[in-house]
Symmetry: C2
Subunit: 507 residues, 2 copies
Amino acid sequence: MDKFFLEKADINTPKLFEKEVTSAKTVKIVPDESAFFGVRTEDAGELDRIFHPGDRFILDFGDHCVGYLSFRLRHADRYLDAPVRLRLRFGEIPYELSREFSDYHGGLCASWLQEDIINVDFPEIVRLPRRYCFRYLEVTVLYTPRDVMLSDFSVRCVTSADRSRLKPLPAGIDPELAAIDRVAAKTLEDCMQTAYEDGPKRDRRLWTGDLRLQALTDHYLFGNNALARRCLYLFAACEEDGKFLPGCLYQKPAVFYDDMQMPDYALLYCAALCDYYEFTKDTETAKDLFPTAVRQTKLACSLIGEDGVIHSVVGWCFIDWAPNIRTCAPLQGVLMYTLEKMAALAEALGENSIADEFINTLELSRKAAYQVLFDKEKSAILSPSDDYQYSVQAQAWMILGGALIGEEGKAALTHALASGDSVKPVTPYMHHYVVEAMMKLGMKEEALSYIKSYWGSMVKHGADTFWEAYVPGNPDVSPYSDIIMNSYCHAWSCSPSYFIRRYFAEA
Amino acid sequence: MDKFFLEKADINTPKLFEKEVTSAKTVKIVPDESAFFGVRTEDAGELDRIFHPGDRFILDFGDHCVGYLSFRLRHADRYLDAPVRLRLRFGEIPYELSREFSDYHGGLCASWLQEDIINVDFPEIVRLPRRYCFRYLEVTVLYTPRDVMLSDFSVRCVTSADRSRLKPLPAGIDPELAAIDRVAAKTLEDCMQTAYEDGPKRDRRLWTGDLRLQALTDHYLFGNNALARRCLYLFAACEEDGKFLPGCLYQKPAVFYDDMQMPDYALLYCAALCDYYEFTKDTETAKDLFPTAVRQTKLACSLIGEDGVIHSVVGWCFIDWAPNIRTCAPLQGVLMYTLEKMAALAEALGENSIADEFINTLELSRKAAYQVLFDKEKSAILSPSDDYQYSVQAQAWMILGGALIGEEGKAALTHALASGDSVKPVTPYMHHYVVEAMMKLGMKEEALSYIKSYWGSMVKHGADTFWEAYVPGNPDVSPYSDIIMNSYCHAWSCSPSYFIRRYFAEA
C-alpha cells in the first residue's frame, strides 16, 4: 500500500463527537398486519427496575443509535452472590427483535446479528466494549442468584458528523420533505465514523459506491471535507497496477482490502474525487489523487469493445442488488458519466490533453451506445447480451452518461419505470441515480414526487434511518435471503438530503 | 463498617504475582470406568491452527490456572469480513467439560459455570476481561465467515503467593507426602488473591473457616503475613453489636457482607487471630483485634445452657457439609478449642482477668460436656438433641476442645471413624480437624496414614489441586446437588501442607 497516501489518510482521521442517549421506556412488539414488516411496538411503561431469572424486556431509545451501551446492575434486596448472566439483542427496527436469531436462514455470517451474552461478576456500571447499532434493546435475564436491579441504560453515541454545522431547512418547507431530510441526515450521521461506513450495523466498511453518495450528500449536510479526503486517500493507497480499485476496504486492525475489483465502483471513486474538487477547490488533494483516477478511468475505457460498447466486465460490477441485473449497459453509462466529470477535473488542473482524450472517448462511446444498444421498439437501451435485458438501471445510467437525452431520455426512463417487463431498482442507491437522471433531464416535478413516493414511504413505515434495500409493497426483499440481516441505516440511502437541499429547499 | 479497620485492611492489600502459562496441547475427554469421575483425557496432538464453523477443541494447560486468558485470532486464507463468535468453556477437571452446562441440575446459580460466548469484531489478540479458573479450555467456533486461525493461547496467572519463599521439602521425604504437599501448596497458591478466597472458580469469597486453615497453612508455605492481617482486619470491620461475625465477606465492588451469623466460623476467626499472634508476635495487630475476638468468644459462651452444654445455636453453624449434621456438640468443641487459645492470647497481651475468665469457663464447659453428653454404651459424645446423633465431627471437636482426652478420646475417634452408625466428614475442611484431633491425642502414625489415605487418594485420582468435597468411593458428593458446581481447588483442603511441614517433613 502507498505509504504517503496512508499517512495523508491518517492525518485526516476525524475526531468522534459523543452524545449520551438514555432510555427507561419499555415496549412490546406486537403483530400488526398494517405495518410494513407485520409488527409494531406498543408502549409497555417505564422500566421496572427489579428483575428475576427469565425476565425479559425491550427498551426503546427513541431514535437510531450507534454507540456503546452501559447500564447499572445492582442487587435488589440481597447481595448478588453469583455472576448475573444476561442476553442482549439489538434491533434497528422492531421486526428484528420479533424474530429468534437462531431462526436466521440467510447467506451472510450469522455473527452479524447483534447479540451478546454477558456475565457480570460484580454489581457495577456495566460498559460493553463493542459498538452496537440499534434503537431497540432486548434484555433477557438468563441467570441471577437473586433479584437484580437493572437501570440507567445509556448509549454513548458516536459520529464524526458535527450536527452544529447542519443548516436548518427554510421554515415553510413542505413537512414531508422536512421529514425525509431529517431521516436522511440521521442516516448519514450514523454512518459517519472514522470513515464513511456503508452501514454501522453490518459490514461497517468503506465502499466506493457508498462513499460517493455520502460525500456528495455530506457536502450539503455536515461538510466534513476531511472525512471525504481521508476516504479518497484510503482507496488510492489500495490501488494495484492494472487493477480496478478494491470495492471496499477495512480500517481495523489496520487498513486492509480484499481482492475484489469493482469497475462501476472504481469509476464512482473518480466521480467522488471530481465532486470533492468541485466543492473544495483543494488542488493539493486533487493533484495527489488525479493520477489514480486517470488510471482507473482508462482501465474502464479498455473494457469498450471494437463496436464502441462494453460487452463484458472484469470482477464484480455491482450496479444494484436487483436479481440477475445485466451490468454492461449500466456500466457504460457509469463510465460516460465519469468521463464527463474527469474531463472537467483534468481541465481545471491544467491537464488539457487528458481532458481532450476523455471528451473524445466520451463522444464516441455515447454514439456507439445509442447506435448499438437502443431498441426502437422498446424506445430503450437494452443490455448487449443474449437476453437483451430491459432495465430501469440501464436507462438511468445511459441518461446520466449522455447517450440518452431529451424527450427520448424522458420517455425511456418513464416507460421503463412503468413497464411490467423491466428490471426495477431494489436499493435506494440505484434509486438515487434514477432521481439524478430525472434531474439531468429537467424532470424536477417527477424527481420530487419520486423522492416523496420512494423515501417518503419508508418514513411513513416508521423508518428512523433509511434502509439498505427497499421495494415498496414487498417487505421480504433482502440481498442475503433473510431481512433480519439487512441494514436499516444504510449510507447509500442518505441522498434525498442532497436533492432536497440542493434543489428543493425553497420555503 | 469500622473505617480504621478497613484502612488497615486496605494498606495490607497484597500485590499479585503474575506468570504466563501457554498451551498448544489438545486433548479429548473419553469415558474411563476406572477413573474417579468416569472420564479421562487422551492426547489429541498439537493445536491445529485453522478452524471452520462448528469446530471444537479442548486445550490442556498442564496444571491448574487462575487468571486471564488471551489468544490470537487471525484470518487463515481470506480476511474475516464478519465477527467471529466463539464459545469458551473452562474446566478445573475433565469431567466438567464432559457435561453440557445446560444439563446442570444443582442448587447454586448456573452462572458460576464458567462459560462465555464472545464476538471478535476484528482479527487481533483477544484478551478476556474476566478471571477464570481452569486447566482445560474448550473452544467451539460458533460462527466465522471464513476459516479462522486461533493460536497463542496463554493465561496470565495471578496469585498473592510468593513461590520464591516456598522452602523445598527435605530431599529424602516420602514421595507420597511430597506429592500431597505439592498439590496442597498449589491449592493454597491459587486461592491466594487479594484475600484468601475459598475457591477461585466459584464463590471467591473470604470465609472465616477457610481463612483460618489458609493462614495456618500459609505460615508453613508462603508466609504472607500481610494477607492474613488484611483478612483479619476485614472481618473485624464487619462486626455488629451483639452479633456473630458474618461467615463471609466480599471485596468487590467494595467491602461488603451479608447478614449471615456463623457461630463456629466466628470462633475460628478468634483462633486465626491467636495463630497469627503466635506466628508473628505482632502485638499491634493483636491488640487492635483482641476486643473483637473477646466479644465473639463471649457471645459464643452465652449459648451455653444452665447445664453447661450448648442446646441451640444462633444463625448457621456450619461444622461440615455432611447432610443433617447436628451442630451443638461440635460447636461446643469449637468453643472450648477457642477458649484455650484465647486465654493464651489474653495472657500474652497482659489481659489476665480475661485469661482467667476464659480458663474458668473452659473447665466448667469441659466437665459439663463430658457429664451431660458422654454416652457410656457408645463410648462417645452424642449431640444433645432428640436424636442423640453420633458423629465423627462431635468426637473430633470434643477432643480438640479437651472434653475427651487420652485413651478414651482415641477410642471415641477411632470407633466413630470405623462405625457404620456414625455421621462421617464430607469435606477436607472437617477432615483437617479429625487429623488435628489425632495429633492432639498423639496419634501421629494414624494421622499420617489418614492424610495419605484421604488427600493422597485425591492425588491418585489426578487432582492438580484439592477439592471442595471428597468422599472416597463416592464421586457424586456435592453440597449443591451437581458435582459440576463443586470447586476443585478449594482453600479449606490445603492443610496437609501444614501437617506435613510442621510434623512430617523429616527426610
